[in-house]
């Protein structure tokens, strides 16, 4: 653990020296925050038409008002709550967007900078090295999500109907943000690190790691089309699956990390 902490400190210090790497994540975060406000607040304000007057939202509003979190909301508030909850999953993409380039660069970057060989000459194990690399990408992403979530809640308190913000503090929303999100990000980052251990070019790792965006987008669409109801139970099940996937990915990453090939065949 001490060696993981030592290398993690280095990763975080390195990132502090290169804040530009988080620009994509900040942009993703801003878009993820702004989009639901545009749908739930700005468009009705400009068009002068309340969401609850639209037939598109009526059924969804009734469904939401039947849930404990939204029971006391008026029809407009219930629709806003639905929109703000469903768009939450977009925030899950923020750590992935932020950390993907960091993770993709993790191994191939060290090799290109010729810093990997002295590192491998220390007693550090492959697990410790990869764990520090993945955490070095994940931790800043999770911090960014927490910041985005705070802004999101602040915006909902300021602009949405009274009481809507409370729906963001029910288990479903919190599980999405702080369990499903980090686990999905961890899986994406591990995939990127796996690829980073096998390619000569950080861009390849970045492209393959970015595939994690696909299942998250499918979840988002499935929610909107009522094909999936992301209840707390479903989120816990998906999270359990992701936790297992992360264990498998770590085992694969350790197997794929061939010190000899990295040192002798990469140029």
């Amino acid at each position: 653990m001490k060696r993981i902490a030592a290398l993690l400190d280095k990763e975080l210090a390195d990132l502090r020296g290169n804040p530009a790497v988080f620009v994509p994540a900040i942009i993703t975060g801003i878009i993820s925050i702004v989009m639901p406000f545009v749908v739930a607040i700005v468009v009705p304000y400009i068009s002068g038409e309340r969401l609850s007057d639209s037939s598109d939202f009526r059924i969804a509003a009734e469904m939401y008002r039947s849930q404990p979190a939204s029971r006391n909301l008026d029809p407009e508030g219930a629709i806003q709550a639905m929109i703000f909850q469903q768009f939450l999953i977009l925030l899950v993409l923020t750590p992935v967007a932020g950390a993907m380039s960091v993770a993709a660069y993790a191994v191939v970057g060290e090799k290109q900078a010729r810093t990997l060989e002295p590192l491998l000459a220390t007693p550090i194990t492959t697990f410790e090295l990869l764990a520090a690399k993945v955490l070095g990408a994940l931790v800043p992403g999770v911090v960014l999500v927490a910041l985005c979530f705070t802004l999101y809640v602040g915006g909902v308190i300021a602009f949405a109907h009274p009481g809507v913000y409370r729906t963001l503090f029910f288990s479903r929303a919190l599980l999405t943000m702080f369990l499903l999100g980090p686990l999905a990000a961890l899986a994406a980052l591990q995939m990127a690190v796996c690829v980073s251990s096998r390619v000569n070019d950080a861009r390849s790792a970045q492209q393959i790691g970015a595939l994690i965006i696909l299942p998250i987008s499918i979840l988002l669409v499935a929610q909107f089309t009522n094909n999936v109801d992301l209840t707390s139970r479903v989120i816990l099940l998906i999270s359990g699956g992701l936790a297992l996937l992360n264990l498998v990915l770590m085992a694969i990453a350790i197997n794929l990390f061939d010190r000899e090939s990295i040192l002798t065949r990469w140029k």
């Binding site: 280095k10 900078a113 010729r114 810093t115």
Partner: protein, 295 residues
């Protein structure tokens, strides 16, 4: 002092697919010794070092190590965005040193770079980077120090500073192995030289290698014509040549023959101005060894 090996390489061989990078190389390294691994590019020097450091496995053969190893890689490999202090601190913690901050401070002071500890590595000159990398390799007080091209690309002043640090390691009784193709450096610091061209071409002290390939010669300068002493000296040495005031005498052992030559000359009335041992440049030795190996 008895030769006590701290590192033993036995029949080290490393293949990369069909190519044999290192072929049956054996040698020993003692505490307080500077051992140079000489060879052209692609001769297997870095591969040998990596096997000794445990970074790659030999295809055959073994390495026995008695003590901790410190490795200076060919490139300094510092994290550019981190300060000098932080670079070293990470390594101190990775090595599990009990008081990493103190170890870093002591090492920075030892290498005379304490005043640069808050500088980012990217701001350092190449020579300073190399010095920091050397400090990093020695942070955990290794008994065996492996240095891959330690002065490569450095200006003469920086190269001298690094050489002085290497000599200091010998004084501290550490075993030092330098991989290089800098013959001047080898001539200045190495106790023994191994010439590598995938396999071991030669291994000995620089003086013994010179003697083996070129023989040893004594150059005696006289105050006057030297030719008249040639026949006299042929009783002591077979190969004697005169050129003006200088006698060039081929000898098997300079240290044993020189006093006898001087006594003979002085006894015959010669005025001896100077006596020096003539040394073939190490470059000639190295090139001849490689030419022989290529045949």
């Amino acid at each position: 002092m008895a030769f006590v090996a701290t590192l033993v390489a036995s029949h080290l061989t490393r293949r990369f697919d069909a190519r044999v990078a290192v072929d049956d190389v054996s040698f020993e390294l003692a505490a307080g010794e500077i051992f140079a691994l000489l060879g052209p590019n692609g001769a297997g020097k870095t591969t040998t070092l990596r096997m000794l450091a445990g970074l790659i496995r030999p295809s055959a053969g073994a390495v026995r190590v008695n003590g901790r190893i410190g490795l200076l890689t060919e490139a300094p490999g510092l994290w550019d965005r981190l300060t000098v202090e932080r670079n070293l601190l990470v390594y101190a913690r990775l090595h599990g040193l009990p008081n990493p901050a103190r170890a870093v401070d002591e090492t920075l002071a030892l290498f005379d770079i304490a005043d640069r500890k808050h500088d980012r590595a990217a701001q350092l000159s190449k020579g300073l980077k190399q010095r920091v990398a050397l400090a990093r390799a020695l942070l955990h007080r290794p008994d065996i120090v492996l240095l891959d091209e330690p002065t490569s690309g450095l200006d003469p002043e920086s190269a001298r500073a690094v050489r002085e640090l290497i000599l200091r390691l010998r004084e501290e009784r550490r075993a030092v192995l330098i991989s290089t193709h800098n013959l001047d450096e080898v001539a200045r610091v190495a106790d023994r030289v191994a010439v590598l061209s995938a396999r071991l071409v030669a291994l000995d002290t620089p003086a013994a290698l010179r003697a083996r390939l070129f023989g040893s010669r004594l150059l005696v300068t006289l105050a006057g014509d030297a030719a008249r002493f040639v026949d006299l000296l042929r009783t002591t040495a077979a190969d004697v040549r005169a050129n003006g005031c200088t006698l060039s005498i081929g000898v098997a052992d300079v240290e044993r023959t020189a006093p006898a030559v001087v006594r003979t000359l002085v006894g015959a009335g010669a005025d001896v101005v100077s006596v020096v041992a003539e040394q073939a440049p190490l470059e000639d030795v190295y090139l001849r060894l490689l030419q022989r190996d290529a045949r």
